[in-house]
């Protein structure tokens, strides 16, 4: 059977691309014909993609469309696909987050959300990656939404040598705060900086914050973050690592002491799982799908009380018993993301076809 996938863009290292590649790998191993069609791709993405013009227009096929961004080209071709259409909804960041920074991104996010309604008539199999996303789809009028868990493949972290440069530079005994995720207003990196600044100024000056992730299309947000760091007088201790290689990512997780996520809107947030797999205590804002992803692990935060959140960071870094308790729960939570759960869900879906 032909089961192809359709993406607005094959990015490098993001959750959507990772899921598409994992789906392709398994479908092929089960004997299905499976290609990825995308109008654009990140320069670092090594997996092959095919142009939309080559999408089959006849025959018995299933197309899995990953909906996360707006793409005019994809939208135009969705109506002319042959066979059945499944949509994997990865969530769309609410447009108002982009409004102050990029009219283009705001419009794109708005159109991606507005498209959910009309897409309902085309989609035979609605799928998504979290209960939070499922609730959004139901609100948009979708019935029978199934969950296909994100494949959080943690085995790769043990197979890659961590970057020696990163290990040498930041493995110096200072307390390293870490957040991993593209620089985007919904992720509220400014709040992470403020929490870190409080900790750095009033608790321990031998500390730094590393923000892994880039967002070249909204440079203005990055500039705002730099201004927040400067105003908080911690600019020289905040590292904007940008887009990093996998080897560097592994190293950043290894040298980190604490993972702080202040995101206000997440459809899943895979870095939380990666952090837990690296035995990093997690402090996260209770927003979007974050509470669902953490389960009963980590430390959830309500509101923006910087002094209190910084104090929790101090406790997690200095109270060995507390840290051990949190890590024990996090290790137990990782069982929910065992690769076989994703494979079983995918197999169920394919067999049902």
């Amino acid at each position: 059977m032909q089961i192809h996938q359709l993406l607005a863009s094959l990015e490098y290292g993001d959750a959507v691309a990772n899921q598409a590649l994992a789906i392709q790998r398994h479908l092929r191993s089960w004997g299905h014909e499976s290609d990825i069609f995308a109008p654009s791709r990140h320069p670092l993405a090594t997996a092959p993609t095919r142009p939309l013009a080559e999408l089959p227009t006849s025959g018995s096929t299933m197309t899995l469309y990953h909906h996360a961004f707006w793409s005019e080209q994809i939208h135009e071709c969705l109506g002319s696909l042959s066979g059945r259409l499944a949509m994997i909804y990865h969530n769309v960041t609410p447009a108002h987050y982009f409004a102050p920074y990029s009219g283009e991104l705001r419009d794109s996010a708005l159109r991606a959300r507005q498209a959910l309604g009309p897409l309902r008539t085309l989609v035979d199999e609605p799928l998504t990656v979290s209960e939070f996303n499922r609730a959004e789809l139901r609100e948009a009028g979708y019935d029978g939404v199934e969950i296909l868990p994100l494949p959080v493949d943690l085995s790769g972290f043990d197979e890659v040598e961590p970057s020696t440069d990163v290990m040498a530079r930041y493995g110096d005994g200072w307390k390293n705060f870490l957040f991993v995720g593209r620089l985007a207003p919904n992720k509220r990196q400014e709040d992470v900086i403020r929490v870190f600044a409080w900790y750095h100024r009033y608790v321990d000056t031998a500390s730094r914050l590393v923000l892994v992730g880039a967002a070249p299309e909204i440079d203005a947000y990055r500039e705002d973050l730099v201004r927040v760091a400067q105003a908080s007088r911690v600019a020289e201790h905040v590292v904007f690592a940008g887009k990093v290689s996998f080897s560097e990512l592994v190293a950043y997780y290894r040298v980190a002491d604490l993972f702080v996520c202040m995101s206000e809107h997440e459809g899943f947030c895979a870095p939380l799982v990666e952090a837990m797999s690296h035995d990093l205590p997690v402090i996260a804002r209770a927003a979007g799908a974050v509470p669902e992803t953490l389960g009963d692990a980590g430390v959830l935060v309500y509101g923006r009380s910087v002094p209190r959140i910084a104090e929790v960071a101090r406790l997690l870094l200095n109270d060995a018993e507390l840290r051990r308790d949190v890590l024990t729960r996090q290790r137990a939570r990782l069982a929910a993301y065992a690769p076989d759960r994703f494979v079983a869900a995918l197999r169920d879906f394919v067999e049902r076809l």
């Binding site: 409004a99 959830l300 002094p307």
Partner: protein
């Protein structure tokens, strides 16, 4: 199909945590209360060290922020109506008036487009400002909640002296 269970069920104190300090510690019951006390005491102790400005209450900001948000909404709705052609007349006269106004509008379309670009730019500036102000307002309000009476008195003394 495998479904990850939502975790809200396993958190016993979401509402209580939200009301009392804004941080929910997921820990064994025997450890959570003491950790919460340590967190509150530590936050208060360090708040005394913090510059008063960083902790000042922000009551005065709320009306300004509300007015700004109302202005942004007003501008947005006016922009949506910008260039609309309407008439209060009915029947044939109304149709003639609308047709004439439409012709005039076509003649000045270039000017209208330019004005609209300026309005969009202005709206972007105001939206950016309101988002920043709202974030600061929430942040300062939350921070202010850790103030002890001592810190408030110290704040007042600093301003007076």
């Amino acid at each position: 199909m495998g479904v990850l269970q939502p975790k809200e069920m396993s958190r016993s104190s979401d509402k209580a945590a939200s009301d009392a300090g804004g941080v929910d510690l997921i820990l064994p019951e025997t450890r959570a209360p003491s950790a919460r006390v340590e967190m509150e005491e530590g936050a208060r102790a360090r708040a005394v060290e913090a510059p008063p400005l960083a902790l000042r209450r922000t009551d005065g900001l709320a009306p300004t922020l509300r007015a700004l948000l109302e202005s942004v909404e007003d501008l947005r709705s006016q922009m949506e109506r910008f260039g609309d052609v309407t008439t209060s007349r009915e029947g044939l006269l109304g149709r003639i008036e609308l047709a004439m106004k439409s012709v005039v509008r076509k003649l000045v379309q270039r000017h209208l487009d330019q004005e609209k670009e300026v309005h969009v730019a202005l709206l972007n500036v105001l939206e950016r400002l309101s988002v920043a102000l709202r974030a600061e307002h929430e942040l300062l309000d939350d921070n202010a909640s850790v103030l002890t009476e001592d810190a408030l008195r110290r704040d007042r003394r600093t301003k007076e002296g």
